[in-house]
Amino acid sequence: MTDALYLRYRPQTFEDVVGQKHVAETLRNALRQDRIGHAYLFTGPRGTGKTSTARILAKAVNCLAEDVNDRPDNACPICTAINQGRLMDLIEIDAASNTSVDDVRSLIEKVAFAPSEARYKVYVIDEVHMLSTSAFNALLKTLEEPPAHVIFVLATTEPHKIPATILSRCQRFDFHRISTRQISEHLNEIARREGLTVTPEALGIIARSATGSMRDAISLLDQVAAYGHTEIDEELVRDVLGMVSGLAISEFVDALAGGDPAEVLTRLHELIDKGIELSQFVNQLIDQLRILLLLNVGKDPNLVDLPDSLLAKAQEQAARFTAPQLLHTIRALTEAGQALKTPFAGYLPVELALLDALNLDGMTAPGEKPVEKQVSKPASRPVSSPRPAPRPKKAPPKRTTGSVPPPSKPAAPIDAELAGVWKQLLRVMRGINAKLQAMLRSGEPAGIQGGKFYIRFKYEFHRNQVQAGIDDVNKGLSQVLGRPMEAVILGENDPLPTASVASQPDAASAPTPASDPDPNPDPNPDPASPLTDHPVVRRALDDWGGVLKPSSLVD
């Protein structure tokens, strides 16, 4: 036998159809009371039993068994003929390849003829959503009042594509996604009959991956069984699916918590070299981080469905992250998961997401994090020491390589300049992110120093909100200043990194290149000052060449 398992185990009786009790019961009652409709519409996701139920219905209405309750008995000549696919009176039509009105017309012509051997002629029109509009319309009259010996069963995965005029002429049955538990029970039964040994964990993974479709689940079991192992365990299933073991995920999360990007990337590539399926891995990682997030925000471990052995480890890991970190990481990974769908960049989206997740942290000044932590949730974080220690280590080297060395040259009074930049920033931010701008207004500028712009907020809520949109603030700052600048959020009582900064003006904050001896570095040009000195104008001249004519500057 080379049948796929899902064909071999197609349900043959109403009882066999898993998870669609509401449909099976209704149809059996209709049979018992001899109240069979003339047109049915079966809808529901793939692999939930629509075509199978249609065939069972065809058998049941035609079965020769004496007792109605026994139908279909799968033993009488009619049932056998249907099971072997050779009953003349069961007409299965593939609506997807016979879409035209002519196909429907030829069908209608034959409808009038009496059945050749069975009681009813059953027309099963599969994938009916693919019929053309005119084909649907041609069907309307026949569907409303077919000859007494005809039953129509329309089946589709996409009921929204069916015209209302068709819908109102049919008895509609919605097939539901099958629950994970029901799938794994059914798989267990199939495995038993096939003589396969499958561990409950393996069944669980298969059932979950099938997302409610029995055909997917059985296909998957089939695929795993094709390896020819006598026992099918978790590991084998993971291999086939390209999934990573729970332990590997946990270790990866540890690496993330450690905060060393090189370590994280190395681990990622180790996994890639082992041949994992990246999108599966991203999903698994998101699942794990979601658990940590739940543990992090809610103190109730019952929120997550984990055995005790894993729970302790998860709680320990949860304590090593802050909730915003987890949120940010999950968001970045979700985007990466989307980006993986177009294969242009390969593994790159995942790498970038991980680096982003790690660098979010580097953006906050050292020493600031613990304060925020204590304020936000003092109770939920029994282990707070491992976190702040490793993080700051990696942040400074990266920043210093990045930023331009600040020349030490005194300039205009810092306060006026700060206020100017702040005012401009608020104006620019309105265009970039209006919501964020509103948040920013409740803060005040604290200082500019070495490529960093410090903003002080009284309330933690504002801090968190602005921190979440820090990229936009950076964007705004670089627009205002004409060079990359990084916003750093401070709490009410946090000191600036160097005490002297607030009073000592820092020339790096001047918007013009350091080499330029510009006496007026105010980025908000005084209308009186010559426009030619404006950094934007100068940059344009540098970049594009040309001469500035006085006339073009007048008003």
Partner: protein, 332 residues
């Protein structure tokens, strides 16, 4: 060696294993979907599987088990087998006429072998009608029919198609496999092979085309030089360069090269020197990593990816490239 007509598949050992077992036990399925990134050997595996399905001896223990000597194997290797049918998108789309041809022929008996094998490549290019037209055949074809769908974008396929197939998710090859293949097939030296393997990112087809075309390798190095020069360009110069570049036929490949290059810079900034792709440019990369701030590079990488997405949507190539180059980091 000369009379060995086996179609050789590099990597994907697990998939070859699985298919060989199925063949040996006479338990092959009626429909397969080989999914995975481009240029990793999906169609090659499909052809090798087809060869094994129709092989007269099926004796081999390695690969897929085709003997590679019988008449059938020879015909398969030459692409002349009467029972092998390969369908590729005609133009931009896989047409419903082509699918109808599959449906019709799938109902017929094989000409001379046990099976009639249909390989349909780039199945994501089948439009909704064409894909739907295959559903019934795909679920219950005749006992002597085998259908292999190949796609690099399984997410673009109908769920109803995927759930009817045995899905083999193929992945890019590990670097070591690509290196071995390049050494075996083309006799490359180890360092060359390794460099190509990294550049190709596990896509063996791409590695072979790079290796077989020394010009593409040369022009790669040249483009990398140019890209570094751009950093010092003024906007006017950048736009001029964009205009020259826009005429390049394989813009997407150039963007991929840039992407990998800047990724390397980012990786170095995060102290991942061992993981970089362009190992032979380590000095230049390190230099860039020191002088350009990480966030700027990060933004440029994003811009490259966005531009690639735009290009796939047929935007004005010149405008897209100009905008991208203006966003490139600036360095004196």
């Amino acid at each position: 060696m000369t009379d060995d007509f086996r179609i050789r598949v590099y990597g994907h050992a697990w998939a070859q294993d699985l298919l060989r077992r199925a063949l040996q036990h006479g338990a092959t399925r009626h429909a397969y979907l080989f999914a995975g990134p481009e240029h990793i050997g999906k169609t090659t595996l499909a052809r090798a599987f087809a060869q094994a399905l129709t092989c007269e001896n099926l004796a081999g223990e390695d690969g897929l088990g085709a003997c590679g000597r019988c008449r059938s194997c020879r015909l398969a290797a030459e692409g002349m087998h009467p029972d092998h049918r390969l369908f590729a998108p005609a133009g931009n789309q896989l047409r419903i006429d082509q699918i109808r041809e599959v449906v019709r022929e799938a109902a017929l008996s094989p000409v001379e072998s046990r099976y009639k094998v249909f390989i349909i490549t780039e199945f994501e290019r089948a439009n909704v009608n064409a894909a739907n037209a295959l559903l019934k055949t795909l679920e219950e074809p005749s006992a002597t029919t085998r259908i292999i769908l190949v796609s690099h974008q399984p997410s673009g396929l109908l769920d109803t198609i995927i759930s009817r197939c045995q899905l083999l998710r193929m992945r890019p090859l590990p670097e070591s496999e690509v290196v071995r293949a390049l050494q075996e097939r083309l006799g490359l030296e180890e360092p060359d092979a390794r460099r190509l393997a990294r550049l190709s990112n596990g896509r063996i087809g791409r590695a072979f085309s790079l290796a077989e075309d020394p010009e593409s390798w040369q022009s790669y190095n040249q483009r990398i030089q140019e890209m570094q020069a751009i950093l010092a360009y003024s906007p006017a110069q950048r736009i001029a360069y964009a205009q020259a570049l826009e005429k390049h036929k394989q813009l997407e490949i150039i963007l991929q090269e840039w992407l990998l290059w800047w990724r390397d810079v980012l990786v170095i900034q995060n102290r991942g020197q061992a993981l970089i792709v362009n190992q032979d440019h380590l000095d230049a990369l390190t230099d860039l990593a020191r002088s350009i701030p990480g966030p700027q590079i990060r933004r440029f990488v994003d811009a490259i990816m966005t531009t690639a997405a735009y290009l796939r949507k047929n935007v004005n190539r010149q405008l897209a490239m100009e905008a991208l180059l203006l966003k490139a980091p600036h360095r004196e």
